[in-house]
């Protein structure tokens, strides 16, 4: 279904590439022109994405704004794009944050500006492609594609340890992707084995279940790829490295969008395709998520570097997202998606905030700051708002997501929700301690005295984030109403624990038997 009769998703995905070509034609000395063109392209991309919101039909779970063109028909590959209530806001989040991230680089990135902006545009294409692809092959192409610009961004414009950090980021994620590739291929061939059809169509693959023992391996492979991306504990150690070394815009995009590809992957692949295995794995994933929530918070608490602190807080926040998701209730999954959006806004904003002072002070060590409230009051107010949002104070977006996750989890797993409810305590500890040491107290470091408050550009990119902090906090229905149909459908899909392929009785599988069975594998 495409209510606009216009290839809007393709436009979204490819406008940045066109922009990249345009930028590449500009003389690299004209930095101003490069920045303006990039910004305009990203803004255009954002404007183009707005009809998705306004024309979105929230009464159906069907894919919308669909574009489907045969690509390699003999292999069952299509150029197949579409979004539903789950991907809608991730797409919008991506288009919304890109111009903001770009604006934050105007004074920070002064070397190889042209290349930087090209990389930024290419990254945008990659990320959007991941969220709109409904053909799993296409999905994989975009998934791998976006790794390269991010790799370059950290590796070229990063801090002193950038090469190590970017290699770690690249290899670790790539390691996960390899498993995903194997699993994708296996899925493709197994699907043919059982249903006599070669297809990469995500929707078809969701609706036709596979035997449990195969699901087991496929689930593990996909879960590994996505868990590294999220990142779930204990696959998180690349994240602090990458965040600390990445330039501000890189951190913002990494935290706000890239990590969501992991959670999105779980929602698109693991939950609907391997529903039976999902149920088997619920407890394990919930426990890992809980560990992530607390572990992330504890380790964040003692970090001397602001960026590292925020990086570990991401581990904690996304722990909530995973918790809500694997509670497998409508509210839990909606809460999980809200948590993704909120994390994108709040954590992205916190990285921007750190970027603002980093540009002026060239340090991120907490102990070198202090007393900013009296020196840069406007900065401090914004910092406060994002801090509160991050610790989920009611009235801000963070609370909505966290409460929904808790309640969603509570519906199916009471004990986990009760334990998770205490996570908010530690969030307050690490955020407020850091906030106190940076913003309150007396400015002891003489270098701080020359700090300047927000300039116009910073005002411009910070205000929209604040608007969303309160909008989601006060009237979340704008967002909830659009995802409801899709999430309910997803919950229905996860309830199908049927593991026998419906058209072919070659393999019959008894749900009560052990999960891994060698004879079944050979079958």
């Amino acid at each position: 279904m495409n209510q606009l009769h216009f290839p809007i998703l393709s436009s979204l995905v490819f406008i940045p590439i066109v922009g990249a070509i345009l930028v590449s034609l500009i003389d690299s000395k004209k930095e101003g022109a490069i920045r303006w063109v990039t910004l305009v392209v990203l803004l255009l991309d954002f404007v183009v994405s707005l009809p998705l919101f306004f024309y979105f039909n929230s009464s159906t779970y069907q894919m919308q704004f669909v574009e489907k063109v045969p690509w390699i028909s003999s292999l069952g590959m299509n150029y197949y794009l579409g979004i539903d209530g789950i991907s809608l806001f991730l797409v919008l989040l991506t288009t919304f944050l890109a111009p903001i991230a770009q604006l934050s680089t105007w004074s920070g990135i002064t070397h190889k500006t042209k290349e930087f902006n090209i990389v930024l545009l290419l990254l945008q294409t990659g990320m959007l492609g991941v969220f709109v692809s409904l053909d799993i092959f296409l999905f994989y192409v975009f998934w791998e594609f976006q790794l390269i610009p991010m790799y370059l961004m950290i590796g070229i414009w990063g801090g002193p340890n950038r090469v190590f950090a970017t290699m770690k980021f690249f290899l670790y994620t790539f390691f996960g992707s390899v498993f995903m590739l194997v699993a994708l291929m296996a899925l493709y061939f197994l699907h043919h084995t059982y249903y006599h059809e070669y297809t990469f169509n995500m929707i078809t693959l969701m609706s036709q279940p596979l035997p449990a023992n195969l699901q087991f391996w496929l689930f593990i492979a996909f879960a590994l790829a996505f868990a590294i991306k999220v990142p779930m504990w204990p696959f998180h150690t690349w994240l602090p490295w990458a965040h600390v070394e990445a330039p501000t815009a890189g951190s913002v995009i990494l935290a706000s969008v890239l990590l969501k590809m992991g959670t999105y992957g779980f929602l698109r692949f693991n939950l609907p395709m391997f529903a039976y295995m999902t149920h088997q794995f619920v407890d394990i994933i919930l426990i890992i998520s809980l560990i992530g929530i607390f572990y992330g918070a504890f380790v964040a608490m003692v970090q001397p570097d602001i960026k590292k602190l925020v990086a570990y807080s991401s581990v904690s926040h996304l722990g909530y997202s995973m918790l809500g998701m694997f509670a497998l209730t409508t509210i839990g999954i909606e809460g999980s998606i809200m948590q993704m959006i909120n994390h994108g806004i709040s954590t992205g904003a916190l990285f921007l905030i750190v970027g603002v002072v980093y540009e002026r002070m060239h340090t991120r060590i907490i102990s070198e700051y202090g007393g900013l409230a009296s020196l840069v009051p406007i900065f401090s107010v914004f910092f406060m708002i994002f801090t509160l949002s991050s610790i989920a104070v009611p009235g801000t977006n963070g609370f909505i997501g966290e409460f929904m996750v808790l309640f969603g989890t509570f519906e199916s797993h009471k004990l986990f929700a009760i334990i998770a409810a205490f996570g908010g305590l530690f969030a307050a500890v690490y955020m407020l301690t850091m906030f106190k040491r940076v913003v309150f107290l007396k400015p002891l470091n003489p270098k701080l005295l020359k700090l300047t408050d927000f300039n116009l550009r910073e005002w411009i990119y910070m205000v929209p984030l604040v608007v969303f902090v309160f909008w989601i906090g006060i009237y979340p229905n704008t967002f909830l109403s659009k995802m409801h149909a899709s999430v309910s459908h997803l919950v229905e899909q996860t309830k199908v624990v049927n593991t026998s392929p419906s058209t072919n009785g070659k393999v019959s599988f008894d749900n009560n038997k052990p999960i891994i069975k060698k004879s079944a594998l050979k079958g």
């Binding site: 150690t237 504890f298 409508t330 009611p394 006060i474």
Partner: protein
């Protein structure tokens, strides 16, 4: 009417927005703007309160806040008799304290910021009491906590103030987790958190076990916000904030939120004797425990802080034994007299340039006659001397405890009443009576009576500290305040309720109060016994009390420190860096080694390749041969 009710909470929000966004320009008018906002808020509240007294109940839904399909959480406001009492107390006392602050905070560089926070506080507090469901109450609940955090740390460049603010927020968060858990249980069981959907159906829906869980979880929240043992540790540090803040937030309104919440949830508590027992016992213990700490302190604000803890304990006794109206009644009178006590302490600080120790004061009544009289009135009220306000409410609680079958709590309450009167008059006598302890100090500090903008609100509260309790008198066979609050929070019905002579109980209470005052008089005015000799006789006890039982030290060395240590030196530096991350690197290193191994095979010499090929052929042949054989 719907708009009028909304306006009550909107006015402070408008004040907040004006001062928050334009504080730079409103500078000297910030106080006037904020106080006017509160005045308007109070005026908007008058008519609805009057209508509620006449028997109406208002419950308006403005929009759907969180529609989850099956579960819908509205943004609605409710005024019934319980919230009407709270509404009156909060809007009126806040108004007075806003006016007072105009004088107190004059000249502070953060003048506009102060009033911004203060307005936001009142907005949150009103949301807390008027919200028609638990989740909205929670919004207010965390909102007031946030404002408390901001206002305690108002002078943020002072490390102690910033630390105290953070401590308050974090300790409250422990309670908040409990509150949220309670809300989760309610939402799951009732498919709603709106009061009107919950309380009428408590008996059908909840088993006593579930009611106990909900009751205890909610009470954990109340313990945090209302600073009950052991979550009280933040309240005394909260005195780092400006004194009007201590008065408004940490005495009159915010800290009583827990009592309101328990009274509001009376239907749930009624079902669970265990939860009620816990509430009453924690209340009684805190009342006693905090009063002992108030006995020895020399910092005037901390004495009042411990006294607040103790009085909150009384309120919890009231709601815990099931006499909800008495708890709320005491909440109201306490708001008047404790608000006044803090304002008086503020006036003293104002004229003493921020000095706090009773050792430096004495004979202040000559310099500040009005403040002195008001402090005596407030102390008589808190000491439980008729006809002052505190007498009626405290007596209602203690008599209720005895009638509901809690004699031990009653005894503890009476002993605490003695201590209360004693420490309050110790305070009054050593600050306002006697002689100047440090010669010429007052002269140097230019100690003088507070300006009118401060004394007038104090007089208003002073009058209320006298007459505020009279609604607890018998009128034509019923006690008006009891009848009014019991419409929403009816007193628990107990089989075989014990009856005692009311006059006798009152007599005992009054005696306890008088005895306390007398003891203070003997020690601090007449000096027949010196405080020093008492301290020396009971040296160990005195040391323990003077150091507030070493609880802060205990928490720091046995909870906070080890926790940070484990996080830093175990979780981060060992688990994260040396195990998980090193594991990842090791994996990478092994892969690289394997790659290196294969790479070294690629030497480029044909002879080497031929060598390896021949070895391969030999191996394969051998393997085939073995298989054939």
């Amino acid at each position: 009417m719907k708009t009028l009710v909304l306006l009550i909470i909107i006015w402070p929000l408008i004040g907040f927005i004006i001062n928050g966004l334009f504080g730079k320009w409103t500078k000297n008018y910030a106080g006037v703007i904020a106080a006017s906002a509160l005045g308007l808020s109070f005026l908007s509240a008058v008519y609805p309160i009057w209508q509620v007294i006449l028997g109406n109940i208002y419950d308006y839904v403005y929009f759907m806040w969180m529609p989850f399909g099956k579960f819908n959480i509205p943004f609605g406001l409710r005024i019934d008799s319980l919230s009407a009492v709270m509404l009156f107390v909060v809007t009126f006392v806040s108004w007075m304290i806003h006016i007072y602050s105009n004088g107190y905070m004059k000249g502070d560089p953060g003048y506009a910021r102060y009033f911004t926070y203060l307005n936001l506080f009142v907005f949150s507090m009103l949301l807390l009491i008027l919200g028609d469901n638990y989740l909205l109450m929670f919004v207010g609940w965390e909102g007031v906590g946030l404002c408390s955090y901001l206002l305690i740390g108002f002078w943020y460049d002072k490390k102690t103030a910033s630390d105290a603010g953070e401590k308050a927020f974090v300790v409250n968060r422990i309670g908040d987790a409990g509150f949220i858990i309670g809300v989760l249980f309610i939402l799951l069981n009732f498919h709603s958190v709106t009061y009107a959907d919950v309380f009428p159906f408590v008996h059908q829906v909840l088993t006593p076990q579930t009611a106990t869980i909900i009751g205890l979880a909610l009470f954990l929240g109340a313990m945090g916000k209302s600073a009950q043992f052991p979550l009280y540790i933040w309240l005394t540090d909260a005195m780092e904030g400006p004194t009007p803040v201590s008065s408004l937030i940490h005495a009159a309104t915010m800290v009583t939120a827990g009592v309101y919440m328990v009274a509001r949830s009376n239907a749930i508590y009624d079902l669970s004797p265990i939860a009620m027992e816990v509430v009453a016992s924690v209340g009684a213990f805190t009342a006693f425990y905090a009063a002992t700490m108030a006995l020895t302190h020399k910092d005037i604000k901390r004495i009042l802080a411990y006294s607040t803890l103790s009085q909150l304990g009384y309120m919890f006794i009231g709601v815990g034994v099931g006499v909800y109206w008495a708890g709320i009644f005491h909440l109201m009178t306490h708001a008047f007299f404790k608000g006044l006590l803090f304002l008086g302490a503020g006036a003293v600080m104002h004229s003493m340039r921020g000095l706090l120790s009773t050792d430096l004061m004495g004979g202040l009544r000559k310099k500040m006659p009005q403040t002195a009289i008001l402090m005596v009135i407030a102390s008589l009220a808190i000491g439980g001397i008729p006809p002052f306000a505190g007498f009626f409410s405290k007596d209602a609680i203690l008599a209720g405890a005895l009638e509901m079958g809690h004699p031990i709590i009653w005894i503890v309450g009476e002993i605490t009443a003695f201590m209360t009167a004693f420490y309050m008059f110790r305070f009054v006598f050593s600050v306002f009576y006697g002689e100047e302890k440090v010669p010429n100090l007052y002269h140097e500090l230019h100690t003088h009576e507070a300006p009118k903008v401060m004394t007038i609100p104090m007089w208003v509260l002073g009058v209320l500290s006298i007459i505020g309790g009279w609604v607890g008198l018998h009128f034509s066979g019923e006690i008006p305040i009891e009848a009014f609050i019991a419409r929403t929070a009816p007193t628990l019905e107990v089989a075989g309720e014990a009856h005692y002579s009311e006059a006798l109980l009152m007599g005992i209470s009054v005696c306890m109060g008088l005895l306390g005052i007398f003891t203070a008089w003997v020690i601090y005015i007449k000096k027949w016994i010196t405080a020093q000799s008492v301290a020396n006789t009971f040296k160990p006890i005195y040391t323990l009390l003077a150091n507030t039982y070493y609880v802060d030290e205990f928490v720091y060395f046995f909870i906070v420190k080890p926790f940070w240590w484990v996080s830093e030196y175990f979780l981060w530096k060992i688990v994260d860096v040396k195990i998980i991350d090193a594991g990842v690197d090791l994996f990478g290193w092994i892969s690289k080694r394997i790659g290196w191994l294969f790479r070294t095979l690629q030497t480029g010499f044909v002879s080497h390749y031929a060598y390896w090929v021949s070895i391969g052929v030999m191996l394969l042949t051998t393997w085939y041969l073995i298989r054939i054989i």
